[in-house]
Symmetry: C2
Subunit: 198 residues, 2 copies
């Protein structure tokens, strides 16, 4: 039987939201489909109207998250091509995304190993492009002699790791507001790339 007032899209959004929360809380393997179904208010078998397998579900979640992050980044970087402005935009976007949607990026970082080869390649490919964006900003800043780092690739890795760390401890009701966090980390970022004109 089909339930009254249910559309494909509504149910999918509920599945997606519950899936992200459950996987973030317990991990992919420990998040059972029966538990997921209960959270959605549905039987376990019904989930297969919305995905082909649990594995495909995970791959879809992670891929979509990375695609959204990358799309938002490109939108944020389009406004200004100056490396200083772009680094500022990068930090702001990254922190905003990683605090507002911490569960999603959390599983995006944690559950890569739960993917099969194909999904893994897709998601790490997207992640690689994200890292490349930052590396390119740093390199252009060095060419313009406004930034100075000994190794642009490692600097990009160090920066992203530093920024991503917030999603492991950030608490929306905590001591620091999102805006304050962005200020702090923007400062750290410019220090890291050796930008003098702060």
């Amino acid at each position: 039987m089909r339930r009254a007032g249910s559309t494909r899209d509504q149910t999918w959004r509920a599945i997606r939201a519950a899936g992200i929360r459950l996987i973030a809380d317990h991990g992919y393997e420990a998040a059972s489909l029966r538990l997921l179904a209960r959270e959605v208010g549905v039987q376990a078998g019904s989930l297969y109207n919305h995905f082909g397998s649990k594995q495909e579900f995970l791959a879809r979640l992670l891929t979509e998250i990375m695609q959204e992050l990358l799309a938002e980044l490109d939108a944020a970087l389009a406004a200004d091509s100056d490396p200083v402005a772009q680094l500022r935009a990068f930090v702001a976007l990254h922190i905003r995304f990683h605090t507002a949607r911490k569960d999603e990026v959390f599983i995006g970082n944690m559950e890569l190993r739960s993917l099969t080869r194909q999904g893994f390649k897709t998601v790490t490919g997207l992640r690689g492009r994200y890292e490349d964006r930052l590396q390119a900003i740093i390199e252009r800043g060095m060419k313009a002699e406004t930034f100075g780092v000994p190794d642009a690739r490692v600097a990009a890795f160090a920066l992203i790791a530093m920024l991503t760390g917030v999603c492991t401890w950030y608490d929306p009701r905590g001591r620091l507001s999102q805006a304050r966090l962005i200020d702090l980390y923007t400062d750290f970022a410019f220090r890291l790339v050796g930008y003098g004109g702060r």
Copy 2:
């Protein structure tokens, strides 16, 4: 039957090593005891001669890892009480530990959510003490006016996240040696805390 030439200690070390590798590769939930037993060369039931439950096994692994990290840190910091020397020692130890024993720290960061409340409290308690060490170094550096950061706690978090990131991409056979990494990250660390005399 007991197997020829086997002692409690030998088997335990094999279990520990295989457990760390399997959990790092597949995650705690996905690392089954039957697979672990096969890697050790033993039957699944035999594992219960060495731990009380899978959950206790994980808690023991993570606790020991954090204890060793903390002990090595305290040993490294004992040599010199100067904040500059101590920050240098902190970075060197952290990178060395996180590259040499990357699987262990990897699960130490990833599998916290798989612990029950008690184990979780123990491990995060140790981790908190580790973070406090770094925060104390930064604060003493600020009091001496050799360091300058807007928020010592966030700076400590940012630093640790930055340094810990290496264990997600470091490859012993890759472009960068361990020594080179330490140099790079030491530089980043001093930039981050605003140390002028580099």
